[in-house]
Subunit: 161 residues, 2 copies
């Protein structure tokens, strides 16, 4: 497990990732796609947590980040919030982060997938990649075991990914 | 009302917009933000329709496009689908369109708001703007009457928009 402390806030980012990871494990136990996320305030208070529910709710619109965003309820200002996710955000979730002005992004791992993380960084949003081994193992094992389901979740047609 | 027929398919795009517009009007009657959307197959068959539910469900994650996307259920290939929306898609919804490879976008109006439409067009996704007067009137009246709610929905802090 990686350990990283944000230099500005002193918050242990690995500790924040633990919440997202627990969500992902829950999703896996439910037979779902193991991606979890959590939205925190700048001081590390949990605002909302969630997980991909494509399988569980038969709902393609619920990614980890959108579920955590929903769970946090209506907020008037996201600029000091931190979105923590087990896997690099796809374009859908990157668009969410951009539109609502979420202040920072912490990514468990980006080896299994990459979406809009560079785009967000270029827009000036701090992006931290923890390269967490638990996340890498969880996701790579899942993709290997259920490639069709994974491709469905990222809009890839067929099994070519 | 604008009238426009897609040259390739012969589909009346204004007719498709009617479905999204009805959804937006429903949202307005519910006290919500009047943005509606609908996902169609290439031959004009309705796959799913929806509307912004921030107010109705107290849920910031449900934009018109994400609601229509959800209503269409799990699809394996979006490449021939058409996302029709009363208002130009925000970055969140533009990210959805990109990630899932939605084939085309039809926009009721883009005078009240612009998000990722140019970005989508640059990515090669056909974007048609109908500049529909009903949509312009509905949205401009709403923004004038409830600026704080509108700003909340697009992540703008305060009333400066």
């Amino acid at each position: 497990m990686s350990s990283r402390t944000d230099a500005d806030s002193g918050i242990d980012l690995s500790h924040l990732l633990d919440t997202a990871y627990r969500q992902a494990r829950l999703g896996l136990e439910e037979g779902g796609i193991p991606i979890g996320a959590a939205l925190f305030s700048a001081d590390g208070k949990l605002l909302g947590e969630g997980r991909n529910r494509r399988v569980q709710h038969d709902d393609p619109s619920v990614h980890g980040e959108t579920d955590a965003f929903r769970a946090a309820g209506r907020q008037l200002d996201y600029s000091s919030t931190i979105m923590v996710t087990t896997l690099a955000p796809c374009w859908y979730c990157s668009g969410l982060i951009r539109q609502f002005g979420i202040g920072a992004v912490v990514i468990g791992e980006n080896r299994s997938f990459q979406g809009g993380e560079d785009w967000l960084a270029e827009l000036g949003i701090p992006v931290t990649i923890l390269d967490d081994e638990r996340c890498v193992t969880m996701m790579s094992e899942f993709i290997e075991s259920k490639p069709s389901l994974w491709n469905e979740d990222i809009g890839v047609v067929g099994d070519e990914a």
